[in-house]
Amino acid sequence: MFIGQTRFLASSLKLETATGEQRPLTRVQAAVLVMLLGERGRVVSRASIQAAIATACGSELPQQAANAAQSPKARADSRTETRADTRTDTRADKSFVALDDIMASLERLIGADWHSHFEVVGRQGFILHHRRPARRLFARPAGELSAPLFVGLILILAGLLFFLNRQLPTLELLPFSQQQTLTNASGESLLWRRVGETNTAIKQLKAILPQCEHQPWQRISVSASSAAPHPLLHLVLEGGALSAPQNLKLFDIDGDESLSLAVLKEAGVCD
């Protein structure tokens, strides 16, 4: 049975590393491994493991379990004192600590393969996974990655964002300089939109439009060419009886009184 590249030799109670080195296990450590490997991929409760240890080692628990975590010398020294204590102490608390110590001792024996397969499930128990669990990129990136690598990735992403920001143009929003609803006396509304700067003719047009008795258009977009060849008022009329928008170019309307309701009616801007 393998934990990563470390092989558990149940018959000889040994672990064999990837390099071929064999490491002896205590009976308690072996019992824990047998239990975890038997339930591989599932949560094994602390009580179950304790029961397995008790079955395998009898009355030596939990002190022997605690000893498993100690150095061989300390373990040997303390072995003579164990048996009297184990029967009288509060077993639950000690066994809880002892189990963690056993796991720590296994971690020291097995190394990287252990903590890439082994998982503590709160205070309930433990899982020995079949394979190394998938890395969770967004769970704890700083914890999963080494600090220089994490900073490096962040810098690369920031550089990419800067590059993209320079490469991809931003969308220009709100192309209209002015946008508002005009309402005439009969309550008909018209969306007025101006592109660019205003001038006298545009102001006149905006003032006259609400005077229309009937508004045949739903939307009027307007702009003014003040430069050569000659002043021109550009109107785009939309939403009328004709489905397609209509363009209207008004010449010679730069004078103070050049635009009137009559002119707009003649041109079909209003009825």
Partner: protein
Amino acid sequence: MTDTVSWSGRSLWLAALVILLPLLALVGMQHWTEDRGDLELGCTAQLADGEGPLSENLALHLSIHDGNAELVYGVHRDGVELGAIRLWGTLSEWTPASLSYHLSLDKGQVLMDFTQPRLPDHLQQVVMLGRQPLVQGKPLPVSFRVLELEKHSALVVFDDSQALWSCEVKKWGPMAR
């Protein structure tokens, strides 16, 4: 237990590819569309002055294909083209995000109906304005933006003149032919 595991090299390469490939595809798409700003617009306008509608109409035809641009601006009466200006050159730049087009028109012609004694006044003034850079051997820069785009129509404004046009969209995009 302390977790000192760091990512393996293969995982890092995979993560870098997952991040980089879509970004590179985005930049590639941007460059691809920059080269393919094909477009064809047809626009007509009624003319009017302070006394009412005039009998002439204006017509504007604008086409961009494979980086070449052509602009035809004419005056019509009763369906007959009295005269027109045809300018052509290249699409020097366009920005898909803001739908801004910059044309560099270095060649031009004046087209006139044979029966007309002279160009319409408005067209004559446009010719005088547009020919100056060409006479000096420079291209005429023309820039416009599409403010609104619907299925069959586009609202277009020319940057220099602020001329506003609603145009029929005849072709649009890289697949336009």
